[in-house]
Amino acid sequence: MSAWLEVHRVSKTFASGVLFRRSRHEAVRDVSFALQSGEALAIVGQSGSGKSTLARMIVGLIEPTSGEIMLRGQPVRRRTAKERLDAAKRLQMIFQDPFEAMNPNQQVGTLIARPLQLHGYEGDVRQRALELLRKVGLTPAEDFVSKFPHQLSGGQRQRVMIARALAVEPEAIVADEPTSMLDVSIGIDIMNLLLDLKDEFNLSLIWITHNLASARYMADRIMVMKDGSVVETGDVEEVIGRPRHPYTKQLLLASPDPRRERAEPQAASAADSPAPPAR
């Protein structure tokens, strides 16, 4: 039985520059993985690992340079407007910066009504929007409907964006570091909200993060990426408890964890982030 989502040997190379000064940057190299329906997978990587690019390819915002992405065994096509709409109904993305992802001149009500109208919601759009706002914990919903993005707090904005993603009634949500710009105590609320919604609507979840602990919190399986490639995949407790790849071990040692028994900080690690690619 084929998995719900199958990513097969996907790569993405960005070319920049003109004529003789072209440079190529391989953001994602030959990545493959599968996701079952209702499963939560965390993709962990530091900046430059390619995780965000991979996330955008899964959701269709970027075209892979090579490789295939398949849903229920069928390759995902996004060529016509109808195909794009259908694909959007399957996978929705929650972005890292909710403020950026919101049109500053649109009220919350419009933001949520848009996907409803787009996907042909047949009931009362306003009522449904209010319902969705309540579902993500923004009550009283009537107060929020007329607010502009700049009138909301970071956590509230992210909840609005989650409501917007839910409006489409997707089968999966790809969350690209949605809490990294929020305070931790607000972030944990958002994480719990996503976990609850996942259970309630039987959604699949792809959780993109640089933080191993949050990956453990959110997911059943984990995939560690470095420099565009996958270094280790597996059950989250397995990978964290018995890491095999040296990079995973390094990540684990470097991640602060107050509950771990440790007398003194470890010696400085030899690896430093690589210098940025020469221009």
Partner: protein, 277 residues
């Protein structure tokens, strides 16, 4: 809560008065348009508020009739220019690649040529010069700057996260352009609209002045044109030369005030929405 601001009020007042004159003036003008039974070169008096011209027409009446034409040309040409400019700019800014770059290259090329000269050439090809054709000539050629400006802003908006998010929910490119980006371009469209409308009025005056305008209609430009060709300067007939100029300046000034006033209101209502961009 500032629901009204000085610029908006002043601008609206000026333009409203002019619009009123444009609409109803011809019915209320003291004398008919082509009434030439008066003595020429009369100084302003109670009977002729702005004196008479060399043909014996009442200048004041001419000015009133002219308001309708100039106003119409200015607004319609301005509107046409805006529609074309926005359409081209938005599309060129949204779609990247050789089509967009190519289009902009042509625009840049055309921008080098002097606008008035282009209009003269285009006018030369038209069978006759009615008011409609003048509007067409001005409207079809003035959009170049505006397209560049709109494209610029569109390029910048296009990078914003909300465009990506809109794609994410499955919106088509056209929808994104029109429903997401276009509303955010309001300030720059408005600024350009004011600019091209005032430009249109002046272009009409220019064309008429050069004798390419419609000889049968009366506009501020034609008045000015006739004044010069009939040596009004030599005759010290300031009442013939200055009023049309003032009318044009007043229109432009009023329109600019109106535009700025609307912009202020828009910004005020939006509050700090763009503060942290």
């Amino acid at each position: 809560m500032k629901k009204w601001n000085a610029k908006l009020a002043a601008g609206l007042a000026i333009i409203a008065v002019m619009a009123f004159v444009a609409l109803f003036g011809p019915y209320a003008a003291p004398y008919k348009m082509n009434d030439i039974r008066f003595e020429p070169w009369l100084h302003p008096s109670f009977r002729h508020l702005l004196g008479t011209d060399s043909y014996g027409q009442d200048v004041f009446s001419q000015l009133i009739y002219g308001t309708r034409t100039s106003f119409l040309v200015g607004l319609l040409a301005g509107l046409m220019t805006t529609v074309i400019g926005v359409a081209v700019g938005l599309t060129a800014g949204f779609y990247r690649g050789w089509a967009s770059d190519g289009l902009m290259f042509i625009v840049d090329l055309l921008l080098i040529l002097p606008l008035l000269a282009l209009m003269i050439i285009m006018a030369a090809f038209l069978p006759q010069m009615g008011v409609a054709n003048i509007i067409l000539v001005i409207g079809l050629l003035s959009w170049l700057h505006m397209a560049r400006s709109i494209r610029s802003q569109t390029l910048s908006e296009r990078q914003r996260g909300y465009v990506e998010a809109a794609k994410g929910i499955g919106m088509s490119n056209l929808s994104i352009m029109v429903k997401e980006i276009l509303p955010n371009l309001f300030p720059i469209i408005l600024a350009n609209l004011v600019s091209v409308t005032t430009q249109a009025v002046l272009a009409e005056a220019g064309l008429s002045f050069l004798g390419i305008g419609d000889p049968k209609s009366v506009s501020w430009g034609t008045i000015l044109s006739l004044a010069f060709t009939n040596n009004a300067i030599m005759f010290d007939a300031w009442w013939w030369i200055i009023p049309p100029g003032i009318a044009m300046a007043l229109f432009c000034f009023g329109f600019i005030l109106l535009g700025n006033g609307v912009l202020e209101q828009y910004r005020f209502k939006r509050g700090a929405s763009r503060q942290f961009t």
